[in-house]
């Protein structure tokens, strides 16, 4: 999904407050942003996404760049909202999501057939969410948002090499965990 060649005119219209243009940008990015946030903070994803879009609205008039830059910018804002939320949550000493909750989010019956034909998206995201934060973030930004390793590095403020290391660890961990699970006949 992308706005394509018309992005520039859509952006200018959105910057001037045209509702149709805002709708185009929102419709293009909203599913991926929400999925990215939902995979990491399922209970707060909606609120975090709202805050993200309000931040986007406040700074939209100053944005300059192409569509790819806009996507990076929006995800960077979403990531900042997520980090802020986690920082505040840690100050409030809230309990982390219990493993049972994660289990509840997994679809019932993870047969090999299901795995081979396609995990349900929710289940796949829940599995990714079991990774350490930075690894999950790399995988989500790459898979859900479709960024390259270099773009992810820029969004996360890390070196591309660091991002590659994180993604290798994440993939190895996911593959190992999946292989450990008993296969349902």
């Amino acid at each position: 999904m992308s706005v394509g060649l018309q992005f520039e005119s859509v952006l200018i219209a959105a910057q001037s407050g045209a509702e149709w243009a805002v709708a185009v940008l929102y419709r293009d990015l909203h599913p991926a942003v929400l999925r990215y946030l939902h995979a990491q903070e399922p209970r707060e994803a909606e609120d975090l996404e709202s805050e993200t879009w309000l931040d986007v609205a406040r700074s939209l008039s100053r944005f300059r760049g192409q569509e790819a830059d806009f996507r990076k910018w929006v995800f960077a804002i979403a990531r900042r909202r997520l980090i802020d939320f986690r920082r505040q949550s840690s100050r409030r000493r809230t309990q982390p999501t219990a493993s049972e909750t994660l289990a509840e989010r997994m679809p019932p019956g993870d047969a090999e057939e299901d795995a081979m034909e396609g995990f349900a998206t929710e289940a796949a995201l829940a599995r990714i969410a079991t990774l350490p934060h930075d690894q999950a973030e790399v995988v989500l930004l790459r898979v859900v948002a479709g960024f390259s390793a270099q773009e992810v590095a820029r969004i996360m403020g890390k070196r591309p090499g660091t991002v590659r290391v994180l993604q290798h660890r994440a993939l190895a961990r996911l593959a190992r965990d999946i292989a450990k699970e008993p296969v349902t006949p």
Binding site: E19, L54, V139, V144, L171, I178
Partner: protein, 249 residues
């Protein structure tokens, strides 16, 4: 153990293909087929949700509110005027220093080393200022002009005569001290010689204020007030000061 760890390591290209969703589970490296399927599921495009008109309206309202808040705008643009203002103040300071220095240079009021540098620099742009070599300049009533030669001094036939004579009679050093080599005293001796007199005879007719000087005779010096110590008989930059301890250039 190492083999177990190595089993789950992918090369960069395979990892990129896996994460970008371009790797089919059938083509996945051994042990990664399920993971490939999982990642493809995670990256599956979300079904377009119905447009949330309320949220879009809120976004539009936020854009409009932000654009119509002058305080916010001013806040975001604050660094620019501040930078500009700082640049203006700096430019004014630099210009002030330049003009001030140029003014001082033109008045010949800088220390001689700086005056010399200023003269060299300003001469490049066609402005003539004293060079800082004091014997090379003469201060006139209209400002400063370059002196025609290195040996020009106060006119012993003008208002400076009394001061010169006074200094000559009181100064020490004489021939051995090179007093007589100074420009001022050389001029005095030459004037006395031209009048067919000794310096002492020539100086007898000198009175304070240079009243004996010929009418309309212009002196290059500022000694017309005829100070008795003779120092003001010389140009204000003090060349060949009256105590005559030699050529002070």
């Amino acid at each position: 153990m190492y083999r177990e760890m190595n089993k789950w390591m992918l090369d960069d290209e395979s990892a990129d293909r896996l994460l970008s969703g371009t790797l089919h589970p059938d083509d996945a490296p051994p042990g990664f087929a399920q993971l490939t399927a999982l990642l493809r599921a995670a990256g599956r495009p979300a079904s377009p949700s119905p447009i949330d008109q309320q949220r879009i309206a809120a976004i539009v309202a936020a854009i409009s509110a932000h654009d119509s808040q002058p305080a916010d705008k001013a806040k975001t643009k604050a660094p620019r005027p501040s930078l500009l203002r700082r640049a203006r103040v700096s430019a004014l300071l630099v210009a002030g220093m330049l003009f001030g220095s140029a003014g001082l240079a033109m008045a010949g009021a800088l220390p001689s080393a700086m005056q010399s540098v200023a003269a060299t620099v300003l001469s490049k742009v066609g402005i003539s200022v004293p060079s800082g070599h004091r014997a090379n300049t003469v201060t006139g009533s209209q400002g400063t002009t370059p002196a025609p030669g290195p040996t020009r001094g106060p006119d012993p036939n003008g208002p400076a005569k009394f001061g010169l004579c006074n200094a000559f009679s009181q100064g020490q050093g004489g021939v051995n001290g090179n007093k007589n080599n100074s420009v001022a005293f050389t001029n005095l001796q030459q004037a006395a010689q031209a009048a067919g007199q000794s310096v002492q005879e020539f100086c007898k007719s000198a009175t304070p204020g240079g009243k004996d000087s010929p009418a309309g005779h212009q002196s290059h010096g500022h000694g017309s007030k005829g100070k008795h110590n003779g120092q003001n008989a010389l140009p204000p930059n003090g060349r060949a000061r009256g105590h005559g301890r030699g050529n002070r250039r």
